[in-house]
């Protein structure tokens, strides 16, 4: 069994950010990621990020990823790739199935002083007749195929969901050379930013609000999709069926936090629809109800890359405070700045649901004596 000071589980934006923040102040950090390359969802985000220009707005996600990895290297973060955290046990013991360069696999048990869970979220499925046919996939899967693997998953796409993921991935599918036949949205209005919708409308992609999918048809893979209008009770309106000739149906219907490890360590969770489902509670330091276990990024509530980066910094800062690498005063100053940026990112009509949900989490966490 190893002993490590700080173990970060998950090398996406929040995990990398937490690792860098802690390491640069002197903590010894091990970051574990199940993939062959760290960076999480960042390497799929080829578009320029929104947010404050003082903090990486206007920079493409892929470039932020490269920069973060470089910072991790410079600050001496130890990274185990191709390694999966398979269990988290009381008290702060993590079991990792580690795969070495020569393919050798070993189960390592690590006793950590502090653990950051940055496991992210997974895509929701929308079930309809024929949804299991090859050609039906998550929008994230399509995004991985085009932006990371550089292969088109299909040529004629139906996108289900008009939130930012649905709109952005539709745009990226166009950039990769696919035709997006339509975006459908069950709600009566488009979910994502107007500017994202405007980009794809300019490219001739229709967005059908108050529409749902009835069926995916095909012998061995998707050949057609049947969509229809829905009424204000979300029920299909008979007679409005339309058949679209598509070979791929991508589902962008939200994400839910991957909370298994947090639950294994008895972190208290709450069911919060605005943040994706079951969300482990955390305090203003991003510490869970289980002392020494921190939660950052989508696992602490599905938001976006910008908030993930900030929450990672927050946890990294809090951890170095409790490990006495920085003074309480310095930590309070840094944390205050980060909270200001987080609040700014959660302002406006698109963020206020999340802002409220996050403040409820802090309340609930306090009430359960975090």
């Amino acid at each position: 069994m190893y002993e490590k000071e700080v173990v970060v589980i998950g090398g996406g934006p929040s995990g990398l950010s937490a690792a860098v923040e802690a390491a640069k102040r002197g903590a010894k950090v091990l970051l574990v990621d199940e993939n062959l390359r760290a960076g999480g969802q960042l390497f799929k985000q080829i578009h320029k990020f929104f947010g404050s220009s003082a903090h990486k707005a206007g920079v493409r996600g892929i470039d932020i990823a490269v920069d973060l990895l470089e910072q991790a290297r410079v600050h001496g973060v130890e990274i185990w790739l191709n390694s999966v955290a398979v269990g988290l046990f009381k008290d702060k013991k993590v079991a990792i199935k580690r795969t070495f360069e020569d393919k050798l696999e070993k189960l390592e048990i690590i006793q950590a002083k502090k653990i950051v869970i940055a496991t992210g979220a997974s895509e929701n499925a929308v079930r309809f007749r024929g949804w299991t046919l090859p050609g039906v996939m998550g929008a994230g899967a399509a995004q991985t195929m085009i932006n990371v693997n550089r292969v088109l998953p299909g040529e004629r796409i139906l996108m289900i969901g008009s939130g930012n993921v649905g709109l952005i991935v539709s745009y990226q599918l166009l950039q990769a050379g696919a035709e997006v036949i339509a975006v459908i949205e069950a709600a009566p209005q488009i979910g994502g930013y107007g500017v994202h919708a405007a980009k794809i409308r300019r490219a001739g992609v229709p967005i059908y609000t108050s529409h749902t999918i009835l069926e995916a048809k095909g012998e061995k893979y998707v050949e057609e999709a049947v969509i229809c209008e829905v009424d204000n009770k979300w029920q299909p309106i008979s007679g409005t069926e339309k058949v679209l000739k598509v070979d791929t149906i991508t589902i962008a219907a939200g994400l839910k936090p991957l909370t298994e490890l947090a639950m294994m360590h008895d972190c208290q969770c709450s069911f919060i629809p605005q943040l994706g489902g079951w969300v482990p509670l955390h305090d203003k330091n991003m510490e869970s109800t289980s002392p020494g276990i921190y939660l950052v990024g989508d696992v602490a509530g599905v938001e976006e890359a910008n908030t993930a980066l900030e929450e990672g910094r927050l946890a990294g800062t809090s951890i170095t405070e409790t490990l006495n690498y920085i003074s309480t005063e310095e930590a309070e100053r840094l944390k205050k700045e980060i909270w200001q940026r987080l609040n700014e990112l959660r302002m406006g009509p698109f963020g206020e649901g999340r802002m409220l949900a996050k403040s409820n989490i802090l309340e609930e966490c306090k009430a359960s004596n975090c």
């Binding site: 993939n35 299991t132 090859p134 899967a141 991985t144 195929m145 088109l152």
Partner: protein, 103 residues
């Protein structure tokens, strides 16, 4: 279809090719790419058939979470093709149920 050139990603500079066998047929793949990418680039959309009703399945989540893309690789079943890189001479077979090979 491969995305050989892209306004943001630039030209695909990977030019090392490896050969793999898929259900007996040799196909070309780019060195170190994920198996699913090589299959998709060659128009192969079906990875496996289900146990009970023999229904086709293909990529769903793309990041190793859902197991819809698993195939028999070098004789080993249930290998997630979306997170496993190709290797020269790799033998890949469409998986039927949870067994090793076609019934």
């Amino acid at each position: 279809m491969r995305v050989n050139d892209h306004i943001i990603l630039g030209k695909d500079k990977r030019d090392e090719i490896v050969e793999i066998k898929v259900d007996g047929e040799t196909i070309q793949a780019k060195k170190d790419e994920m198996i699913i990418a090589a299959l998709m680039a060659n128009g192969i959309k079906i990875n496996r058939y289900t146990v009970k009703n023999n229904r086709p399945r293909g990529i769903f989540c793309g990041i190793g979470q859902c197991t819809d893309c698993v195939m028999v690789v070098n004789g080993k079943p249930n290998v997630r093709t979306c997170v496993t890189p190709v290797e020269e001479g790799m033998v890949i077979e469409t998986q039927h149920g949870v067994e090793r090979s076609k019934k």
